[in-house]
Symmetry: D4
Subunit: 215 residues, 8 copies
Amino acid sequence: GFVKIDHHRMMRQGFPEVVFCQGKTIDQVVAIMERLIEYNHNILATRATPEMYTAVAAVIPDAQFHEQARLIVVERQPVVVDPDRIIVVMTAGTSDIPVAEEAAITAEIMGNKVRRVYDVGVAGIHRLLAQRQILEEANVLIVVAGMEGALASVVGGMVAKPVIAVPTSVGYGANFGGLAALLAMLNSCAAGVAVVNIDNGFGAGRLASIINHMR
Amino acid sequence: GFVKIDHHRMMRQGFPEVVFCQGKTIDQVVAIMERLIEYNHNILATRATPEMYTAVAAVIPDAQFHEQARLIVVERQPVVVDPDRIIVVMTAGTSDIPVAEEAAITAEIMGNKVRRVYDVGVAGIHRLLAQRQILEEANVLIVVAGMEGALASVVGGMVAKPVIAVPTSVGYGANFGGLAALLAMLNSCAAGVAVVNIDNGFGAGRLASIINHMR
Amino acid sequence: GFVKIDHHRMMRQGFPEVVFCQGKTIDQVVAIMERLIEYNHNILATRATPEMYTAVAAVIPDAQFHEQARLIVVERQPVVVDPDRIIVVMTAGTSDIPVAEEAAITAEIMGNKVRRVYDVGVAGIHRLLAQRQILEEANVLIVVAGMEGALASVVGGMVAKPVIAVPTSVGYGANFGGLAALLAMLNSCAAGVAVVNIDNGFGAGRLASIINHMR
Amino acid sequence: GFVKIDHHRMMRQGFPEVVFCQGKTIDQVVAIMERLIEYNHNILATRATPEMYTAVAAVIPDAQFHEQARLIVVERQPVVVDPDRIIVVMTAGTSDIPVAEEAAITAEIMGNKVRRVYDVGVAGIHRLLAQRQILEEANVLIVVAGMEGALASVVGGMVAKPVIAVPTSVGYGANFGGLAALLAMLNSCAAGVAVVNIDNGFGAGRLASIINHMR
Amino acid sequence: GFVKIDHHRMMRQGFPEVVFCQGKTIDQVVAIMERLIEYNHNILATRATPEMYTAVAAVIPDAQFHEQARLIVVERQPVVVDPDRIIVVMTAGTSDIPVAEEAAITAEIMGNKVRRVYDVGVAGIHRLLAQRQILEEANVLIVVAGMEGALASVVGGMVAKPVIAVPTSVGYGANFGGLAALLAMLNSCAAGVAVVNIDNGFGAGRLASIINHMR
Amino acid sequence: GFVKIDHHRMMRQGFPEVVFCQGKTIDQVVAIMERLIEYNHNILATRATPEMYTAVAAVIPDAQFHEQARLIVVERQPVVVDPDRIIVVMTAGTSDIPVAEEAAITAEIMGNKVRRVYDVGVAGIHRLLAQRQILEEANVLIVVAGMEGALASVVGGMVAKPVIAVPTSVGYGANFGGLAALLAMLNSCAAGVAVVNIDNGFGAGRLASIINHMR
Amino acid sequence: GFVKIDHHRMMRQGFPEVVFCQGKTIDQVVAIMERLIEYNHNILATRATPEMYTAVAAVIPDAQFHEQARLIVVERQPVVVDPDRIIVVMTAGTSDIPVAEEAAITAEIMGNKVRRVYDVGVAGIHRLLAQRQILEEANVLIVVAGMEGALASVVGGMVAKPVIAVPTSVGYGANFGGLAALLAMLNSCAAGVAVVNIDNGFGAGRLASIINHMR
Amino acid sequence: GFVKIDHHRMMRQGFPEVVFCQGKTIDQVVAIMERLIEYNHNILATRATPEMYTAVAAVIPDAQFHEQARLIVVERQPVVVDPDRIIVVMTAGTSDIPVAEEAAITAEIMGNKVRRVYDVGVAGIHRLLAQRQILEEANVLIVVAGMEGALASVVGGMVAKPVIAVPTSVGYGANFGGLAALLAMLNSCAAGVAVVNIDNGFGAGRLASIINHMR
Ligand SMILES: Nc1ncnc2c1ncn2[C@@H]1O[C@H](COP(=O)(O)O)[C@@H](O)[C@H]1O
Ligand SMILES: Nc1ncnc2c1ncn2[C@@H]1O[C@H](COP(=O)(O)O)[C@@H](O)[C@H]1O
Ligand SMILES: Nc1ncnc2c1ncn2[C@@H]1O[C@H](COP(=O)(O)O)[C@@H](O)[C@H]1O
Ligand SMILES: Nc1ncnc2c1ncn2[C@@H]1O[C@H](COP(=O)(O)O)[C@@H](O)[C@H]1O
Ligand SMILES: [Mg+2]
Ligand SMILES: [Mg+2]
Ligand SMILES: [Mg+2]
Ligand SMILES: [Mg+2]
Ligand SMILES: [Mg+2]
Ligand SMILES: [Mg+2]
Ligand SMILES: [Mg+2]
Ligand SMILES: [Mg+2]
């Protein structure tokens, strides 16, 4: 067949293969989802269109769609979370929210308690300083920011916790589709910051979940 | 003075400000190290030249130099490690070792047990497969690779543990000073991989240490 | 006329000039195909749209369309293949299949036996290792991969056969339209890997066919 | 002659043509300085080497050299400053000081009171917050930062005054010679920030002086 | 809520937070505008679509739309201008006018007298020279230019006043979406020129206003 | 008004200002054309859409449209050509013809005899060698090529005449919108080749005309 | 140890692991060579400096040095070649010869007959046409070219044989360290051309050898 | 031999093959010069070092060296010039003079009268306007400029003559080795401007000479 589903992944990595819908036909997405659901695990598909969701829901009626985050989620197993280990997902601006939601929902379906702190970018630093309490409570932080991506450095300097920085493509001109924020985050003068691909909320959520489950 | 040492950092982040020697004069490095050592913490300086070390050692005789890693280390407080929590530092080739050593020694001075697994790049995948046992035992992994940086993806697919990928500038031509490995790692098809700047062994060691101390 | 068909090419290169449809009008494509078919050779047109195919089929009724691969094929001469010389076409993911099909069908119409091994990317290396037998049987390999393009290096390290690497534009963000995979493949630490342009399945198929016919 | 000195510039712009020494021979620098000094104005030469200074001082004994800033200054006319209009020059780190000095000394010779606030980068935001008073007193701000250049955005959000951002080439890897800070500053989410070329302390000092003299 | 409006900004910066509409939903824009208008300040939204305006006007009937400039403006407080302090907004070509209008209207709503001098690019330098009188009268200049962006350098050499250069994305080919003009302006051989992001008329208008209000 | 037509240009440069339609509204194009035609010169507008032409033709009925070349031409004065001075316009492939036509028609309306030699790219060098006679007869050559742009070098090596190279955006992948051909042409090992912007047929035609009128 | 020599490689790929000397210390190179020579195979080290060679020769006296090609070769087993299967190595210019020699000597030690055809770049196409006979006799071709790299396309269009294109960093300015030739070769309009990294003569020689041994 | 001198070039192009010394050994340069001088033509070598000149002068005593321009010239045949056809070579700054000299001397040895107009960059436009008379007298213009390269556009707008623009690598920071000036010149809004490679004074001089000899 056209697809070799990595059924070992559930065992190897604790969560089944996640479907990357971009560049696939609707039929391919449906076929892969059907094959995955046979095992009755929770499953996740990223970068899904509404049309893909409609087709999937026709065969997997309990599939849910998070339109802003472009995620299809099927929850077949109870999701257990440790309420004392919080992943905080922050954004610099309102326009970064879709990527942040991709990260947050990914982390949630993988069994994590998530707190959202949105629109606290550095242009008004008092907004961030007002959130200090939440930063204290966090176990892992995901910082989502476009434009110049400075929020990651400021947060990274305030905590001694893992900070996963997600550059977004929000911006224009010499932003070059997120390159400005990506380079800024890679060059962060705050140690303890690691970076994932531009707009890759999923990757950040997945990594945060792995770290958050460490004991 | 020309420098505002961030003395809060020990408290805020559990390790004092680390000195980035590049672009500083020898006098500046010495002055900063002297100010830092007053508190008798362990201290670390990165990207140090042998000349800088000589000048530092004249005033801080117990300073040690790791030439390949370009690190100056002063160990004034006992370093405590949890022997069950291992950070594995891997390289693809022999030429990536200096960056890997920067990561490893950083993690060690910050209180971690480190295992080095060098020269296991994907051109001979059996070398990596032979290390499976070590991958099992790892708590956090740092993957250091230049050229095409493929090792990070392969390792990321084998474990459900945090993988910190460090692209190196090893290579030539269309490598563009490490850009090839950087882009490869950012685009890794294995979830759970986060990336730091090219040749930034220090950042990787610091982040690995933070994660490794989570409970 | 607007076009100087290279009628020598059949003689010089064993296959007539292949039509590159992108940037041409439908009328131009039809006119060129009509001129080429006069000689009754097998002909091939790449990057064709369904509209172009409809127009071509109106004048060359035996033209076939491979929509996913965007190829128009006219088979006027019997295609002879040596069943012992196999070109293996591999992809890292499902989204890379259209480019792989362009390569595979190009190789087939030029007289080669092709085996497809799709969706064996490095995020789950066991999928690739499970195909070792096929790698043994291959005479030439085409590796099609987007994102970080690591599959080419791993395959290149497993065989002593020509590996033609095709980066695809599958990915997003710091993928930069296939640049990440392209650079990775050019910097492959496995010797014996050569690279064609991003998404250039045709070029890979053509080169594989040339190599596969060597004696 | 090889040079057409722009003698109108003193009239048109209030300060004579400034000599850009890079790419000129020592003889050319001396010759130009000699021609400029005939008018007995204050003069400035940027990016000068110690060798150039030695040669200039041989013919213009009152020339002064600022080595770190690479400036040659000749002060023939009294410099008048308005003590109530302060230009504040800030740096993120110690390594950015040479560029900051170029800006500060340029502004001083052009008749401005300058205050230096160095090493207040965002990795320890409290250092910046502790300088709020000085920010209040500033009339114009110059923010000099390498690496991810986030300081400009944070400062720009704290004041309603002109902020001139100077990216520096301090950093390595995906810094690309200052590109990271440059893009960050251009994409600043704080309005009221304008940017000059990487390492262009002179340009920042000159523009700050023009603004500071407005009435 | 999804947005943390920066209500301090009016106090800190003399104008309330400006809404960046790009990447926001119509509902988000309306909600933010409604929250901002409660204080009865003048408000501004940039990069607004006609659809956004229609939705905003339904709840804020006195909102005005500047289609070419993509600005929504609500004027609740009288705008006071000093007629002797003129901001001159210049363009090189006709195609640069939308960005120039964004700058001009931003400056106007923030309380400045603006003069527009359009289509005076360097391909016919006499057109610029004919405007010398206006350049004399200007207090601050905004130069908007695409293609090679040379106008900023020429103007910067003619005046001893702050010049804010706005590169535009007008052009094609090796213009790379405004990169050519951006680099040209950053490398201007005329001192006293500062640069904002490509197509960032808003930022230029805001900065010009800040400078124009200095005393 | 929004436009300052450069009426001197006819005198200064022998042809009136050429209208660059891209980024202008239909109304602006019509207004500019009407102003230009008052002087009854021949006029030219580049990058025009069919809609623009329709609007122009409504007020200037003798305007002609060259759709492929995207040119509007109004011929009010007789065009005089010297039949012994031929501009040869060559293309590498069929897809480069629109840009070549822009060059050819520009040269024609400016009073030059033009010969078109299309589809003689280097993949079949005999096609080019077969045109040697025409190369001999040329006074100036325009070489239009996309993909790798090699034709310019080969032609440049065959003649001691001015060769104007026009890179086109024909291609895909690592072509980067014409960058590949642009760089190739700039690096041509054949001396006597000069380059204009990607897809800038107009500029090439204009320059060729200037050279062709030299005496 | 710091190195895991891939002793399987001789079996898997018919030639032992090749030592990449760049970024290694002299001691590391010597240690690796000593370990490799124990098996008495022929061995090869690339990008070696004269100092490395001196140190290697002290312990492996029969090691040979090819300075221009920067190769150390140890020939312990007889090299068998098929005189009817010729690899032709071509260069565009004289400055490309070091890279070509790296390719040629690599192919020779791996058991191939090599013919060198140097300095036949397209600026004087007759030089290439004069070599037609040799092109006929070739089994595989390696085309080494810097600057605009056009030679690969022209050769690729003349033969129906595998062409391995090696861009070199010969050139300056907009050559960007070989990028111009690299992009040109990747965009070659001649099918059947594959590309290796800039200056990677070794990779080309290795691949050519693999293809040349196919039966 | 390692070199195939293109002896046809004198016939084909009116001047013998010019030696590009960069990347060649001293011995290679000497050998090529000796072969070329046998025909007793005038010869030219570019990018020569003083060491190369010393070695060449030992065997060709009448060879002359232009150090700033890095040219070796041998004048064996009388150079005839038409005094009414002037090539004007202009620079924006003093630092651009070496490239301008390369252009000027190239044009002179190829039989042209050259006038130098240096240091007339746009930061003081009156300097350029003062040269109007010379612009009138020019037959062909070469404009050499680094930094933002604006001079080419201004000159191109003032004359209806061929303008050959040479970007130089003079500058720093976001100049990117001449890229800023290169892009500016390619995007010139003045038609009639063509561009050669960064720092390619030779190419400009050669092309200007070809144009200047047209009749
Ligand atoms: N056109 C614009 N370009 C750049 N920044 C802008 C623009 N319009 C508004 N802003 C800034 O964007 C910030 C709001 O971003 P957000 O939270 O996403 O709405 C404000 O601080 C504004 O100063
Ligand atoms: N010049 C070269 N360019 C690219 N790869 C090379 C070169 N020389 C050796 N290699 C490869 O580099 C690998 C060795 O890397 P390392 O472990 O760092 O010594 C081997 O697998 C070789 O195939
Ligand atoms: N296709 C084109 N490419 C580049 N420049 C052009 C083109 N068409 C017209 N121009 C130039 O653009 C200028 C007009 O720009 P604008 O003022 O925006 O109409 C004129 O000086 C023309 O020389
Ligand atoms: N998909 C493709 N990618 C690259 N080159 C192609 C492709 N299809 C056809 N070609 C080549 O493009 C050339 C035809 O270009 P044209 O003259 O524009 O039709 C032929 O020489 C083919 O070898
Ligand atoms: Mg906001
Ligand atoms: Mg190795
Ligand atoms: Mg898959
Ligand atoms: Mg500091
Ligand atoms: Mg205009
Ligand atoms: Mg064709
Ligand atoms: Mg040669
Ligand atoms: Mg000057």
